[in-house]
Symmetry: C2
Subunit: 294 residues, 2 copies
Protein backbone atom coordinates (compact mmCIF):
# COMPACT_ATOMS: atom_id res chain seq x y z
CA UNK A 1 0.00 0.00 0.00
CA UNK A 2 2.78 2.37 0.94
CA UNK A 3 4.65 1.35 -2.19
CA UNK A 4 1.67 2.33 -4.30
CA UNK A 5 1.49 5.71 -2.65
CA UNK A 6 5.18 6.22 -3.33
CA UNK A 7 4.77 5.36 -6.98
CA UNK A 8 1.95 7.86 -7.13
CA UNK A 9 4.04 10.52 -5.46
CA UNK A 10 6.87 10.01 -7.88
CA UNK A 11 4.79 10.08 -11.03
CA UNK A 12 2.67 12.99 -9.90
CA UNK A 13 5.45 15.25 -8.72
CA UNK A 14 7.32 14.54 -11.90
CA UNK A 15 4.47 15.08 -14.32
CA UNK A 16 2.31 17.60 -12.52
CA UNK A 17 4.59 19.34 -10.07
CA UNK A 18 7.45 20.11 -12.37
CA UNK A 19 5.21 21.14 -15.25
CA UNK A 20 3.19 23.27 -12.92
CA UNK A 21 6.17 25.29 -11.82
CA UNK A 22 7.46 25.62 -15.31
CA UNK A 23 4.15 26.68 -16.80
CA UNK A 24 3.39 29.21 -14.15
CA UNK A 25 6.54 31.21 -14.40
CA UNK A 26 6.16 33.63 -17.27
CA UNK A 27 9.71 34.86 -17.28
CA UNK A 28 9.06 35.90 -13.73
CA UNK A 29 10.31 34.25 -10.53
CA UNK A 30 7.96 31.57 -9.37
CA UNK A 31 7.40 33.23 -6.02
CA UNK A 32 6.24 36.43 -7.68
CA UNK A 33 3.86 34.58 -9.99
CA UNK A 34 2.37 32.72 -7.08
CA UNK A 35 1.95 35.92 -5.16
CA UNK A 36 0.36 37.65 -8.13
CA UNK A 37 -2.08 34.79 -8.35
CA UNK A 38 -2.92 34.85 -4.68
CA UNK A 39 -3.57 38.57 -4.55
CA UNK A 40 -6.54 37.83 -6.76
CA UNK A 41 -8.85 40.17 -8.59
CA UNK A 42 -10.17 41.82 -5.45
CA UNK A 43 -6.91 42.68 -3.74
CA UNK A 44 -5.82 41.32 -0.40
CA UNK A 45 -4.13 42.46 2.76
CA UNK A 46 -0.46 41.67 3.09
CA UNK A 47 -1.35 40.20 6.44
CA UNK A 48 -3.59 37.51 5.01
CA UNK A 49 -1.16 36.74 2.22
CA UNK A 50 1.58 36.20 4.73
CA UNK A 51 -0.59 33.88 6.76
CA UNK A 52 -1.72 31.83 3.81
CA UNK A 53 1.54 31.52 1.93
CA UNK A 54 3.52 31.21 5.15
CA UNK A 55 6.17 33.66 4.06
CA UNK A 56 8.58 35.77 6.03
CA UNK A 57 7.30 39.31 6.28
CA UNK A 58 10.52 40.78 4.93
CA UNK A 59 10.56 38.41 2.02
CA UNK A 60 6.94 39.09 1.17
CA UNK A 61 7.52 42.80 1.36
CA UNK A 62 10.36 42.51 -1.12
CA UNK A 63 8.29 40.41 -3.51
CA UNK A 64 5.56 43.02 -3.42
CA UNK A 65 8.06 45.79 -4.03
CA UNK A 66 9.31 43.92 -7.07
CA UNK A 67 5.80 43.45 -8.47
CA UNK A 68 5.11 47.10 -7.77
CA UNK A 69 8.21 48.14 -9.67
CA UNK A 70 7.01 46.02 -12.58
CA UNK A 71 3.74 47.95 -12.52
CA UNK A 72 1.60 44.91 -11.72
CA UNK A 73 0.58 45.82 -8.21
CA UNK A 74 -0.30 48.90 -6.19
CA UNK A 75 -0.30 48.96 -2.41
CA UNK A 76 -1.88 51.23 0.09
CA UNK A 77 -2.98 51.29 3.73
CA UNK A 78 -6.18 49.57 4.72
CA UNK A 79 -8.95 52.03 5.65
CA UNK A 80 -10.03 50.21 8.75
CA UNK A 81 -6.57 49.57 10.18
CA UNK A 82 -3.83 51.74 8.75
CA UNK A 83 -1.08 49.42 9.94
CA UNK A 84 -2.29 46.90 7.40
CA UNK A 85 -1.23 47.21 3.77
CA UNK A 86 -3.59 46.17 1.02
CA UNK A 87 -2.22 45.02 -2.33
CA UNK A 88 -4.27 45.32 -5.50
CA UNK A 89 -3.52 44.30 -9.06
CA UNK A 90 -3.27 46.98 -11.72
CA UNK A 91 -4.65 46.49 -15.21
CA UNK A 92 -1.33 44.99 -16.23
CA UNK A 93 -1.35 42.77 -13.14
CA UNK A 94 -4.85 41.53 -13.93
CA UNK A 95 -3.81 40.81 -17.49
CA UNK A 96 -0.86 38.78 -16.33
CA UNK A 97 -3.00 36.91 -13.88
CA UNK A 98 -5.40 36.07 -16.68
CA UNK A 99 -2.51 34.72 -18.62
CA UNK A 100 -1.49 32.54 -15.70
CA UNK A 101 -5.04 31.33 -15.58
CA UNK A 102 -4.94 30.38 -19.22
CA UNK A 103 -1.60 28.66 -18.80
CA UNK A 104 -2.95 26.59 -15.95
CA UNK A 105 -5.85 25.59 -18.17
CA UNK A 106 -3.45 24.65 -20.91
CA UNK A 107 -1.39 22.58 -18.53
CA UNK A 108 -4.46 20.70 -17.41
CA UNK A 109 -5.54 20.21 -21.00
CA UNK A 110 -2.08 18.98 -21.97
CA UNK A 111 -2.34 16.28 -19.36
CA UNK A 112 -5.61 15.08 -20.83
CA UNK A 113 -4.75 15.60 -24.44
CA UNK A 114 -2.98 12.35 -25.34
CA UNK A 115 -5.73 10.22 -23.80
CA UNK A 116 -8.86 8.75 -25.27
CA UNK A 117 -12.26 9.95 -24.14
CA UNK A 118 -12.70 6.98 -21.85
CA UNK A 119 -9.27 7.35 -20.34
CA UNK A 120 -9.94 11.01 -19.67
CA UNK A 121 -13.15 10.27 -17.88
CA UNK A 122 -11.44 7.71 -15.72
CA UNK A 123 -8.53 10.00 -15.00
CA UNK A 124 -10.73 12.88 -13.96
CA UNK A 125 -12.86 10.63 -11.79
CA UNK A 126 -9.79 9.18 -10.11
CA UNK A 127 -8.31 12.64 -9.64
CA UNK A 128 -11.46 13.78 -7.90
CA UNK A 129 -11.24 10.84 -5.54
CA UNK A 130 -7.60 11.45 -4.79
CA UNK A 131 -8.18 15.14 -4.26
CA UNK A 132 -11.08 14.57 -1.92
CA UNK A 133 -9.30 11.93 0.11
CA UNK A 134 -6.03 13.83 0.32
CA UNK A 135 -7.99 16.82 1.51
CA UNK A 136 -9.63 14.62 4.11
CA UNK A 137 -6.21 13.35 5.16
CA UNK A 138 -5.05 16.93 5.53
CA UNK A 139 -7.64 17.78 8.15
CA UNK A 140 -6.19 17.94 11.64
CA UNK A 141 -8.37 17.31 14.65
CA UNK A 142 -7.07 18.59 17.94
CA UNK A 143 -8.41 19.73 21.31
CA UNK A 144 -8.83 23.47 21.64
CA UNK A 145 -9.94 25.85 24.31
CA UNK A 146 -13.53 27.01 23.73
CA UNK A 147 -12.31 30.60 23.96
CA UNK A 148 -9.80 30.22 21.13
CA UNK A 149 -10.50 32.18 17.98
CA UNK A 150 -10.92 28.99 15.95
CA UNK A 151 -13.34 27.47 18.43
CA UNK A 152 -15.32 30.71 18.64
CA UNK A 153 -15.52 30.82 14.88
CA UNK A 154 -16.81 27.27 14.68
CA UNK A 155 -19.46 27.80 17.31
CA UNK A 156 -20.53 31.00 15.59
CA UNK A 157 -20.97 29.13 12.32
CA UNK A 158 -22.75 26.34 14.15
CA UNK A 159 -25.28 28.73 15.63
CA UNK A 160 -25.75 30.51 12.31
CA UNK A 161 -26.39 27.26 10.55
CA UNK A 162 -28.90 26.03 13.10
CA UNK A 163 -30.63 29.40 12.87
CA UNK A 164 -30.97 29.10 9.13
CA UNK A 165 -32.01 25.46 9.09
CA UNK A 166 -34.41 25.16 12.00
CA UNK A 167 -37.99 25.92 10.99
CA UNK A 168 -38.37 28.58 13.66
CA UNK A 169 -34.75 29.73 13.73
CA UNK A 170 -32.37 29.15 16.63
CA UNK A 171 -31.76 31.39 19.58
CA UNK A 172 -28.92 30.06 21.70
CA UNK A 173 -30.29 31.89 24.73
CA UNK A 174 -33.37 29.66 24.72
CA UNK A 175 -31.37 26.45 24.31
CA UNK A 176 -29.77 24.55 27.19
CA UNK A 177 -26.52 26.47 27.63
CA UNK A 178 -23.01 25.06 27.35
CA UNK A 179 -20.67 27.59 28.85
CA UNK A 180 -16.98 27.68 28.00
CA UNK A 181 -16.17 26.28 31.41
CA UNK A 182 -18.37 23.22 30.73
CA UNK A 183 -16.36 22.40 27.62
CA UNK A 184 -12.95 22.78 29.17
CA UNK A 185 -11.10 20.09 31.10
CA UNK A 186 -11.92 18.62 33.48
CA UNK A 187 -15.63 19.42 32.98
CA UNK A 188 -15.52 18.65 29.26
CA UNK A 189 -13.52 19.25 26.14
CA UNK A 190 -13.74 20.68 22.69
CA UNK A 191 -12.22 19.42 19.46
CA UNK A 192 -11.56 21.68 16.49
CA UNK A 193 -10.79 20.43 13.00
CA UNK A 194 -8.58 22.59 10.79
CA UNK A 195 -7.63 22.39 7.15
CA UNK A 196 -4.57 24.38 6.13
CA UNK A 197 -4.98 26.43 9.25
CA UNK A 198 -8.64 27.30 8.66
CA UNK A 199 -11.22 25.89 11.07
CA UNK A 200 -13.63 23.55 9.31
CA UNK A 201 -15.41 21.68 12.07
CA UNK A 202 -15.86 21.10 15.75
CA UNK A 203 -17.42 18.91 18.38
CA UNK A 204 -17.60 19.07 22.16
CA UNK A 205 -18.14 16.88 25.15
CA UNK A 206 -19.73 17.58 28.55
CA UNK A 207 -18.54 15.00 31.02
CA UNK A 208 -20.46 13.75 34.06
CA UNK A 209 -18.03 11.30 35.62
CA UNK A 210 -19.21 7.77 34.96
CA UNK A 211 -22.67 9.05 34.06
CA UNK A 212 -23.43 9.49 30.34
CA UNK A 213 -21.32 12.13 28.62
CA UNK A 214 -23.09 14.60 26.33
CA UNK A 215 -22.00 15.37 22.80
CA UNK A 216 -22.49 19.00 21.82
CA UNK A 217 -21.73 21.46 19.05
CA UNK A 218 -21.12 18.96 16.27
CA UNK A 219 -20.51 21.05 13.19
CA UNK A 220 -18.75 20.60 9.83
CA UNK A 221 -18.20 23.48 7.40
CA UNK A 222 -20.04 23.38 4.11
CA UNK A 223 -16.69 23.27 2.30
CA UNK A 224 -15.50 20.22 4.20
CA UNK A 225 -18.51 17.96 3.80
CA UNK A 226 -18.19 14.59 2.17
CA UNK A 227 -14.76 14.02 3.72
CA UNK A 228 -15.97 11.81 6.54
CA UNK A 229 -15.09 14.54 8.98
CA UNK A 230 -18.31 14.30 10.99
CA UNK A 231 -17.66 10.64 11.63
CA UNK A 232 -14.06 11.32 12.51
CA UNK A 233 -15.02 13.96 15.06
CA UNK A 234 -17.70 11.72 16.53
CA UNK A 235 -15.34 8.74 16.81
CA UNK A 236 -12.68 10.87 18.44
CA UNK A 237 -15.18 12.33 20.94
CA UNK A 238 -16.38 8.84 21.86
CA UNK A 239 -12.81 7.64 22.30
CA UNK A 240 -12.00 10.52 24.62
CA UNK A 241 -15.24 10.16 26.53
CA UNK A 242 -14.44 6.50 27.10
CA UNK A 243 -10.92 7.15 28.36
CA UNK A 244 -12.30 9.85 30.66
CA UNK A 245 -14.63 7.40 32.34
CA UNK A 246 -17.94 7.57 30.48
CA UNK A 247 -19.71 4.32 29.62
CA UNK A 248 -22.44 5.90 27.58
CA UNK A 249 -22.58 8.99 25.38
CA UNK A 250 -25.77 10.75 24.43
CA UNK A 251 -26.97 13.70 22.43
CA UNK A 252 -30.06 15.38 21.16
CA UNK A 253 -30.76 16.74 17.71
CA UNK A 254 -33.29 18.54 15.55
CA UNK A 255 -35.37 16.85 12.89
CA UNK A 256 -34.05 19.13 10.14
CA UNK A 257 -30.49 17.85 10.60
CA UNK A 258 -31.10 14.73 8.59
CA UNK A 259 -27.50 13.98 7.68
CA UNK A 260 -26.49 14.21 11.33
CA UNK A 261 -29.29 11.84 12.32
CA UNK A 262 -28.11 9.45 9.62
CA UNK A 263 -24.56 9.69 10.96
CA UNK A 264 -25.63 8.91 14.52
CA UNK A 265 -27.71 5.92 13.44
CA UNK A 266 -24.96 4.47 11.30
CA UNK A 267 -22.44 5.01 14.12
CA UNK A 268 -24.50 2.78 16.40
CA UNK A 269 -26.65 5.30 18.25
CA UNK A 270 -30.16 4.27 19.19
CA UNK A 271 -33.04 6.64 19.74
CA UNK A 272 -34.20 6.95 23.35
CA UNK A 273 -36.78 8.87 25.35
CA UNK A 274 -36.07 12.56 25.89
CA UNK A 275 -33.48 12.82 28.65
CA UNK A 276 -33.64 16.60 28.91
CA UNK A 277 -35.95 19.49 28.06
CA UNK A 278 -33.98 20.96 25.15
CA UNK A 279 -36.66 22.97 23.32
CA UNK A 280 -35.01 22.61 19.89
CA UNK A 281 -34.62 18.83 20.00
CA UNK A 282 -36.84 16.28 18.31
CA UNK A 283 -34.66 13.22 18.74
CA UNK A 284 -32.55 11.94 21.62
CA UNK A 285 -29.87 9.34 20.99
CA UNK A 286 -27.48 7.33 23.05
CA UNK A 287 -24.73 4.81 22.53
CA UNK A 288 -23.05 2.43 24.92
CA UNK A 289 -19.32 2.66 24.40
CA UNK A 290 -17.59 -0.64 23.67
CA UNK A 291 -15.76 -2.02 26.70
CA UNK A 292 -12.36 -2.08 25.01
CA UNK A 293 -12.46 1.66 24.36
CA UNK A 294 -12.73 2.55 28.05
Amino acid sequence: MVARVRRFNRVVTQRVGALNDHFLSLGRPLGESRLLWEIGTEGRSVRSLRAQLDLDSGYLSRLLRSLERAGLVVTGPDQADRRVTVARLTQAGLAERDQLDRRADELAASLLDPLTERQRDRLVAAMSDVERLLTAAGVRVAPADPADAAARFCVGEYVAELNSRFDAGFDPARSIPAADADLRPPAGLMLVATLNGAPVGCGALKLHGTEPAEIKRMWVAESARGLGLGRRLLTELERRAATLGARVVRLETNQTLTEAIELYRSAGYTEVEAFDAEPYAHHWFEKTLPADAR
Copy 2:
Protein backbone atom coordinates in the same frame (compact mmCIF):
# COMPACT_ATOMS: atom_id res chain seq x y z
CA MET B 1 -13.07 18.80 -16.66
CA VAL B 2 -10.08 21.10 -16.84
CA ALA B 3 -11.21 22.74 -13.62
CA ARG B 4 -11.18 19.37 -11.88
CA VAL B 5 -7.67 18.69 -13.08
CA ARG B 6 -6.59 22.07 -11.78
CA ARG B 7 -8.09 21.40 -8.36
CA PHE B 8 -6.24 18.11 -8.34
CA ASN B 9 -2.99 19.79 -9.28
CA ARG B 10 -3.35 22.33 -6.55
CA VAL B 11 -4.18 19.91 -3.78
CA VAL B 12 -1.61 17.36 -4.81
CA THR B 13 1.31 19.72 -5.25
CA GLN B 14 0.49 21.28 -1.94
CA ARG B 15 0.09 18.10 0.06
CA VAL B 16 2.41 15.70 -1.71
CA GLY B 17 4.92 17.88 -3.49
CA ALA B 18 5.82 20.17 -0.65
CA LEU B 19 5.92 17.39 1.91
CA ASN B 20 8.01 15.29 -0.41
CA ASP B 21 10.68 17.92 -0.71
CA HIS B 22 10.67 18.61 2.95
CA PHE B 23 10.87 14.97 3.99
CA LEU B 24 13.63 14.09 1.58
CA SER B 25 16.10 16.72 2.64
CA LEU B 26 17.90 15.41 5.69
CA GLY B 27 19.77 18.56 6.48
CA ARG B 28 21.22 18.22 3.02
CA PRO B 29 20.36 20.25 -0.08
CA LEU B 30 17.48 18.71 -1.96
CA GLY B 31 19.52 18.33 -5.13
CA GLU B 32 22.14 16.30 -3.32
CA SER B 33 19.56 14.03 -1.73
CA ARG B 34 17.95 13.41 -5.06
CA LEU B 35 21.29 12.65 -6.63
CA LEU B 36 22.19 10.31 -3.78
CA TRP B 37 18.95 8.51 -4.38
CA GLU B 38 19.43 8.24 -8.11
CA ILE B 39 22.96 6.87 -7.88
CA GLY B 40 21.33 3.83 -6.36
CA THR B 41 22.90 0.82 -4.71
CA GLU B 42 24.76 -0.31 -7.81
CA GLY B 43 26.48 2.93 -8.76
CA ARG B 44 25.90 4.79 -12.00
CA SER B 45 27.83 6.68 -14.62
CA VAL B 46 27.79 10.44 -14.37
CA ARG B 47 26.74 10.40 -17.99
CA SER B 48 23.49 8.54 -17.34
CA LEU B 49 22.74 10.64 -14.28
CA ARG B 50 23.11 13.79 -16.31
CA ALA B 51 20.79 12.46 -18.99
CA GLN B 52 18.12 11.34 -16.57
CA LEU B 53 18.10 14.27 -14.19
CA ASP B 54 18.67 16.73 -17.00
CA LEU B 55 21.36 18.63 -15.14
CA ASP B 56 24.15 20.84 -16.37
CA SER B 57 27.40 18.90 -16.37
CA GLY B 58 29.16 21.53 -14.29
CA TYR B 59 26.40 21.59 -11.75
CA LEU B 60 26.27 17.82 -11.48
CA SER B 61 30.01 17.67 -11.07
CA ARG B 62 29.81 20.10 -8.20
CA LEU B 63 27.04 18.14 -6.51
CA LEU B 64 29.11 14.96 -6.76
CA ARG B 65 32.16 16.73 -5.36
CA SER B 66 30.06 17.83 -2.42
CA LEU B 67 28.77 14.33 -1.75
CA GLU B 68 32.30 13.02 -2.10
CA ARG B 69 33.57 15.51 0.43
CA ALA B 70 30.85 14.33 2.79
CA GLY B 71 32.11 10.78 2.38
CA LEU B 72 28.91 9.45 0.84
CA VAL B 73 30.17 8.82 -2.66
CA VAL B 74 33.33 7.65 -4.39
CA THR B 75 33.99 8.23 -8.05
CA GLY B 76 36.33 6.63 -10.51
CA PRO B 77 36.79 6.15 -14.23
CA ASP B 78 34.73 3.55 -16.01
CA GLN B 79 36.79 0.53 -17.10
CA ALA B 80 35.33 0.34 -20.58
CA ASP B 81 35.56 4.04 -21.42
CA ARG B 82 37.91 5.99 -19.20
CA ARG B 83 36.36 9.34 -20.13
CA VAL B 84 33.26 8.28 -18.23
CA THR B 85 33.15 8.68 -14.46
CA VAL B 86 31.24 6.18 -12.36
CA ALA B 87 29.83 7.22 -9.00
CA ARG B 88 29.24 4.67 -6.26
CA LEU B 89 27.80 5.05 -2.78
CA THR B 90 30.03 4.33 0.20
CA GLN B 91 28.73 2.53 3.27
CA ALA B 92 27.71 5.91 4.68
CA GLY B 93 26.05 6.81 1.40
CA LEU B 94 24.09 3.58 1.39
CA ALA B 95 23.01 4.19 4.95
CA GLU B 96 21.77 7.66 4.11
CA ARG B 97 19.94 6.34 1.09
CA ASP B 98 18.25 3.77 3.30
CA GLN B 99 17.18 6.56 5.54
CA LEU B 100 15.70 8.44 2.62
CA ASP B 101 13.87 5.29 1.73
CA ARG B 102 12.42 5.04 5.18
CA ARG B 103 11.43 8.70 5.14
CA ALA B 104 9.60 8.24 1.89
CA ASP B 105 7.74 5.33 3.45
CA GLU B 106 6.87 7.49 6.42
CA LEU B 107 5.61 10.25 4.19
CA ALA B 108 3.38 7.83 2.35
CA ALA B 109 2.13 6.41 5.62
CA SER B 110 1.45 9.89 6.98
CA LEU B 111 -0.82 10.57 4.05
CA LEU B 112 -2.84 7.47 4.80
CA ASP B 113 -2.75 7.72 8.55
CA PRO B 114 -5.72 9.99 9.29
CA LEU B 115 -8.06 7.99 7.07
CA THR B 116 -10.33 5.08 7.83
CA GLU B 117 -9.62 1.69 6.34
CA ARG B 118 -12.20 2.17 3.63
CA GLN B 119 -10.97 5.62 2.74
CA ARG B 120 -7.44 4.30 2.47
CA ASP B 121 -8.48 1.55 0.11
CA ARG B 122 -10.28 4.04 -2.07
CA LEU B 123 -7.42 6.48 -2.01
CA VAL B 124 -4.86 3.88 -3.00
CA ALA B 125 -7.10 2.57 -5.76
CA ALA B 126 -7.66 6.06 -7.13
CA MET B 127 -3.95 6.83 -6.87
CA SER B 128 -3.16 3.77 -8.93
CA ASP B 129 -5.59 4.91 -11.59
CA VAL B 130 -4.18 8.40 -11.67
CA GLU B 131 -0.65 7.13 -11.79
CA ARG B 132 -1.38 4.74 -14.62
CA LEU B 133 -3.25 7.30 -16.68
CA LEU B 134 -0.76 10.09 -16.10
CA THR B 135 1.96 7.72 -17.18
CA ALA B 136 -0.06 6.95 -20.28
CA ALA B 137 -0.46 10.65 -20.94
CA GLY B 138 3.28 11.10 -20.63
CA VAL B 139 4.04 8.76 -23.49
CA ARG B 140 5.04 10.61 -26.63
CA VAL B 141 4.47 9.05 -30.01
CA ALA B 142 6.50 10.49 -32.86
CA PRO B 143 7.90 9.42 -36.22
CA ALA B 144 11.49 8.26 -36.14
CA ASP B 145 14.01 7.05 -38.63
CA PRO B 146 14.35 3.25 -38.52
CA ALA B 147 18.09 3.69 -38.10
CA ASP B 148 17.77 5.81 -34.96
CA ALA B 149 19.02 4.28 -31.75
CA ALA B 150 15.52 4.28 -30.24
CA ALA B 151 13.98 2.59 -33.27
CA ARG B 152 16.76 0.00 -33.38
CA PHE B 153 16.23 -0.72 -29.72
CA CYS B 154 12.50 -1.24 -30.22
CA VAL B 155 12.94 -3.55 -33.17
CA GLY B 156 15.54 -5.51 -31.24
CA GLU B 157 13.13 -5.99 -28.36
CA TYR B 158 10.39 -6.84 -30.80
CA VAL B 159 12.45 -9.61 -32.35
CA ALA B 160 13.55 -10.89 -28.97
CA GLU B 161 9.98 -11.06 -27.78
CA LEU B 162 8.72 -12.87 -30.84
CA ASN B 163 11.60 -15.29 -30.48
CA SER B 164 10.66 -16.08 -26.92
CA ARG B 165 6.92 -16.32 -27.52
CA PHE B 166 6.64 -18.16 -30.79
CA ASP B 167 6.50 -21.93 -30.32
CA ALA B 168 9.45 -22.48 -32.66
CA GLY B 169 11.27 -19.22 -31.97
CA PHE B 170 11.61 -16.41 -34.46
CA ASP B 171 14.38 -15.90 -36.98
CA PRO B 172 13.98 -12.54 -38.75
CA ALA B 173 15.95 -13.87 -41.70
CA ARG B 174 13.19 -16.39 -42.49
CA SER B 175 10.41 -13.79 -42.15
CA ILE B 176 9.34 -11.43 -44.95
CA PRO B 177 11.90 -8.64 -44.58
CA ALA B 178 11.19 -5.00 -43.91
CA ALA B 179 14.36 -3.06 -44.65
CA ASP B 180 15.01 0.37 -43.18
CA ALA B 181 14.36 1.92 -46.57
CA ASP B 182 10.87 0.35 -46.67
CA LEU B 183 9.97 2.04 -43.39
CA ARG B 184 11.22 5.48 -44.27
CA PRO B 185 9.29 8.11 -46.20
CA PRO B 186 8.07 7.98 -48.83
CA ALA B 187 8.06 4.14 -48.87
CA GLY B 188 6.74 3.87 -45.33
CA LEU B 189 7.22 5.24 -41.87
CA MET B 190 8.00 4.27 -38.34
CA LEU B 191 6.56 5.55 -35.08
CA VAL B 192 8.40 5.29 -31.79
CA ALA B 193 6.77 5.82 -28.42
CA THR B 194 8.94 7.18 -25.62
CA LEU B 195 8.34 7.65 -21.93
CA ASN B 196 10.68 10.07 -20.17
CA GLY B 197 13.10 9.65 -23.03
CA ALA B 198 13.15 5.84 -22.94
CA PRO B 199 11.66 3.97 -25.91
CA VAL B 200 8.66 1.90 -24.88
CA GLY B 201 6.96 0.96 -28.12
CA CYS B 202 6.90 1.16 -31.86
CA GLY B 203 4.89 0.50 -34.98
CA ALA B 204 5.63 0.81 -38.67
CA LEU B 205 3.88 1.17 -41.99
CA LYS B 206 4.78 -0.04 -45.48
CA LEU B 207 2.92 2.00 -48.04
CA HIS B 208 1.83 0.85 -51.46
CA GLY B 209 0.17 3.95 -52.91
CA THR B 210 -3.59 3.48 -52.89
CA GLU B 211 -3.16 -0.27 -52.44
CA PRO B 212 -3.47 -1.60 -48.88
CA ALA B 213 -0.80 -0.39 -46.50
CA GLU B 214 0.89 -2.94 -44.27
CA ILE B 215 1.30 -2.55 -40.52
CA LYS B 216 4.56 -3.94 -39.19
CA ARG B 217 6.63 -4.14 -36.03
CA MET B 218 3.90 -3.38 -33.54
CA TRP B 219 5.54 -3.68 -30.13
CA VAL B 220 4.92 -2.34 -26.63
CA ALA B 221 7.42 -2.77 -23.81
CA GLU B 222 6.45 -4.98 -20.91
CA SER B 223 6.70 -1.97 -18.59
CA ALA B 224 4.26 0.09 -20.65
CA ARG B 225 1.43 -2.39 -21.04
CA GLY B 226 -2.02 -1.59 -19.81
CA LEU B 227 -1.68 2.06 -20.83
CA GLY B 228 -3.60 1.73 -24.09
CA LEU B 229 -0.39 2.36 -25.96
CA GLY B 230 -0.92 -0.43 -28.51
CA ARG B 231 -4.22 1.08 -29.47
CA ARG B 232 -2.76 4.53 -29.65
CA LEU B 233 0.02 3.40 -31.97
CA LEU B 234 -2.42 1.50 -34.13
CA THR B 235 -4.79 4.45 -34.39
CA GLU B 236 -1.97 6.79 -35.27
CA LEU B 237 -0.63 4.42 -37.94
CA GLU B 238 -4.10 4.14 -39.48
CA ARG B 239 -4.49 7.91 -39.48
CA ARG B 240 -1.19 8.41 -41.21
CA ALA B 241 -1.85 5.61 -43.70
CA ALA B 242 -5.16 7.28 -44.60
CA THR B 243 -3.64 10.72 -45.13
CA LEU B 244 -0.93 9.13 -47.27
CA GLY B 245 -3.50 7.61 -49.61
CA ALA B 246 -4.25 4.12 -48.32
CA ARG B 247 -7.87 3.01 -48.19
CA VAL B 248 -7.20 -0.26 -46.45
CA VAL B 249 -4.60 -1.37 -43.93
CA ARG B 250 -3.66 -4.95 -43.31
CA LEU B 251 -1.36 -7.04 -41.19
CA GLU B 252 -0.53 -10.57 -40.27
CA THR B 253 0.09 -12.02 -36.83
CA ASN B 254 1.01 -15.15 -34.94
CA GLN B 255 -1.45 -17.18 -32.88
CA THR B 256 0.58 -16.79 -29.68
CA LEU B 257 0.09 -13.00 -29.70
CA THR B 258 -3.38 -13.19 -28.22
CA GLU B 259 -3.54 -9.65 -26.81
CA ALA B 260 -2.56 -8.23 -30.19
CA ILE B 261 -5.23 -10.30 -31.95
CA GLU B 262 -7.74 -9.02 -29.43
CA LEU B 263 -6.62 -5.46 -30.09
CA TYR B 264 -7.01 -5.84 -33.85
CA ARG B 265 -10.47 -7.33 -33.53
CA SER B 266 -11.68 -4.66 -31.15
CA ALA B 267 -10.24 -1.97 -33.42
CA GLY B 268 -12.43 -3.15 -36.26
CA TYR B 269 -10.12 -5.50 -38.12
CA THR B 270 -11.63 -8.55 -39.78
CA GLU B 271 -9.81 -11.77 -40.48
CA VAL B 272 -9.16 -12.45 -44.17
CA GLU B 273 -7.46 -15.08 -46.32
CA ALA B 274 -3.67 -15.11 -46.27
CA PHE B 275 -2.46 -12.29 -48.50
CA ASP B 276 1.19 -13.21 -48.28
CA ALA B 277 3.40 -16.17 -47.47
CA GLU B 278 4.74 -15.01 -44.12
CA PRO B 279 5.87 -18.28 -42.54
CA TYR B 280 5.31 -17.10 -38.95
CA ALA B 281 1.75 -15.89 -39.48
CA HIS B 282 -1.44 -17.72 -38.52
CA HIS B 283 -3.91 -14.88 -38.95
CA TRP B 284 -4.28 -12.18 -41.57
CA PHE B 285 -6.38 -9.09 -40.83
CA GLU B 286 -7.53 -6.08 -42.70
CA LYS B 287 -9.51 -2.94 -42.03
CA THR B 288 -11.11 -0.46 -44.40
CA LEU B 289 -10.27 3.02 -43.22
CA PRO B 290 -13.23 5.31 -42.64
CA ALA B 291 -13.75 7.78 -45.46
CA ASP B 292 -13.41 10.86 -43.24
CA ALA B 293 -9.92 9.87 -42.20
CA ARG B 294 -8.55 9.95 -45.74
